[in-house]
């Protein structure tokens, strides 16, 4: 059970002639929540994008289930969920349509389940309102609704708590803990003061990392 | 020599202007390209040197970065 899902070995990334991190090695094991920490500009988002496979300006090794990630990219993408700064929500579509389109590439889900997921993020009644008429926090909630139906074991979440109110933050924290308890592996970056027992840390900014 | 005199060489039986304009533009552009490349190379070298100078000076008086304090900046009023 504790075989790592994702391993980074001697990761190094340079951006705009600035060394963000080097010799960064860590493993993401099922059933854990790991927080990436560091001041602004220390490369938290870049690290998550590298791990998700969006940024390929890095050197070192990234292993997926013990194999280099490139060997089985499809399996990696199928089993990884990434939520970035930009929520991936089309303003012209309704929450329902957005969620349906996002799921369509991964796992088809019927509308009833989608509606439940939206309701679970507090968007009941807004399913058919174009997203541009929703607030920033509500738009983020549409993206977060994916977390309620996602079957991917690895979650990479960049600044999940942005624009979310205090109650929402509480609920999401509970969700993440629950998911980790179920055996999911979660990597988050946040400026919010997240306190979870047994939480792993990856600290950027000094060039070192302690797990 | 394909020409009888120097002036015939310049005139090229009326085709002189065309030929000479071509050669002049060619020479100017080629020489310009070469000079520009050499200049760029030199300035890159100088940049490197300057960079290393400032780096060695900076490391001589290595100080930690001050943490952001978000204090307001007082503007002196004359």
């Amino acid at each position: 059970m504790s075989e790592p899902l994702l391993q980074a070995v001697d990761l190094e990334c340079e951006r705009d002639e600035r060394l963000l991190f080097q010799n960064l090695s860590f493993s993401i094991v099922p059933g854990t929540l790991t927080r990436v920490e560091g001041p602004n500009g220390s490369g938290k988002t870049t690290l998550l994008r590298i791990l998700a496979g969006l940024n390929d300006a890095w050197s070192g090794d990234i292993l997926w289930c013990g194999q280099p990630r490139g060997h089985d990219r499809e399996s990696f993408h199928r089993n990884t969920l990434y939520l970035g700064h930009r929520p991936g929500i089309k303003p012209l579509l309704t929450p329902m349509e957005n969620l349906r389109a996002l799921m369509a590439g991964r796992r088809p889900v019927n509308d009833e389940v989608l509606a439940q997921a939206l309701a679970g993020t507090g968007l009941a009644g807004y399913e058919h309102v174009p997203c541009r008429n929703l607030s920033a926090g509500q738009q983020r909630r549409v993206a977060l609704a994916r977390l309620l139906i996602a079957d991917e074991p690895l979650w990479l979440l960049d600044e999940v708590f942005t624009a979310i109110d205090a109650d929402g933050v509480q609920a999401i924290e509970t969700l993440l803990k629950q998911r980790a308890a179920e055996g999911g592996a979660i990597l988050v970056t946040t400026h919010h003061d997240l306190q979870v027992e047994g939480m792993g840390r990856i600290t950027l900014g000094g060039g070192q990392c302690d797990e | 020599m394909a020409f009888d005199s120097f002036s015939a060489f310049i005139a090229m039986e009326g085709h002189g202007p065309y030929v000479w304009v071509c050669y002049a533009v060619f020479a100017v552009l080629l020489a310009g390209l070469m000079i520009w490349s050499v200049k760029r190379n030199q300035s890159a070298l100088e940049d490197c040197q300057r960079r290393h100078d400032t780096e060695s000076r900076a490391s001589a008086k290595a100080t930690g970065k001050a943490a952001a304090s978000f204090t307001r900046v007082e503007i002196p009023q004359d």
Partner: protein, 247 residues
């Protein structure tokens, strides 16, 4: 073989080799070019059809050759960039694209000026001139894209994709322009079948082509060295070299 390949990709190794070869490239290039051009201008016999205006050929043909071979070499380097991510290959593409642009312009300009006494007009929508004009656009696009992207690695890879797309298109462009030319152009402007060149014209042409290729080699070396200096400023060997150079 692989070791050699990797060595070739190392900027430091290239820097040393380039520094050693550059004086020879420069001297050889200048000498051959000067010999070819003086010979072509003053000593080669005049062409019985075109008179003296043909002497433009001694710069027109070498420029056109270079313009095309630079694009081809960029395409080869682009493949190396995308497949093996060799640093030297992106440096090469970035360094020589402006050189290619200038030689393309020169071949167009000399072609146009040559056209005036030969065809009686500055510009003819002749198949070869038109293809060259499109090549100029392709070079322009490559340089513009390279300038527009700030991050050097992304710029190199984006440019490599563009260069490859361009090189796939070049034969298609050439073919379509030839076809378009026969469709629209009655044969009035076509040069009559070229008589086989006499030796006295051929040799100076060969000399100037060789000379310009050597000079291009020199230009490529110095421009690549500049690029390497800019990119590798912070590496140990550049620091050591800069410090050693100052003493």
């Amino acid at each position: 073989m692989w070791q050699w390949f990797h060595k070739l990709g190392s900027p430091k190794w290239f820097f040393g080799i380039a520094t050693r070869f550059m004086p020879w490239l420069l001297a050889g290039g200048l000498l051959l070019l000067a010999a070819g051009l003086v010979w072509g201008l003053a000593f080669a016999p005049k062409d019985y059809l075109q008179g003296n205006s043909y002497r433009i050929i001694f710069i027109h043909v070498p420029s056109a050759f270079l313009a095309q071979s630079i694009y081809i070499s960029m395409a080869v380097a682009a493949v190396v960039t995308l497949v093996w991510r060799m640093k030297l290959a992106d440096v090469f593409v970035k360094a020589i694209a402006p050189v290619g642009l200038i030689f393309t312009f020169l071949s167009l300009f000399t072609g146009a000026v040559w056209g005036k006494p030969t065809w009686g007009t500055w510009w003819v929508w002749d198949a070869r001139l038109t293809s060259m004009l499109i090549l100029l656009f392709l070079y322009g696009g490559v340089i513009a894209l390279d300038r527009a992207i700030n991050d050097e690695k992304s710029a190199a890879r984006a440019v490599a994709v563009l260069v490859l797309v361009g090189v796939v298109n070049i034969p298609i462009i050439k073919y379509s322009v030839d076809w378009w030319n026969t469709l629209h152009q009655p044969a009035t402007f076509k040069l009559t079948e070229k008589p086989s060149m006499p030796m006295e014209m051929w040799v100076p042409l060969l000399l100037s082509v060789l000379g310009l290729y050597l000079l291009f080699g020199w230009l490529a070396c110095i421009r690549m060295k500049t690029e390497i200096l800019i990119r590798e400023q912070r590496t140990r060997w550049v620091k050591d070299m800069v410090l050693a150079g100052r003493k």
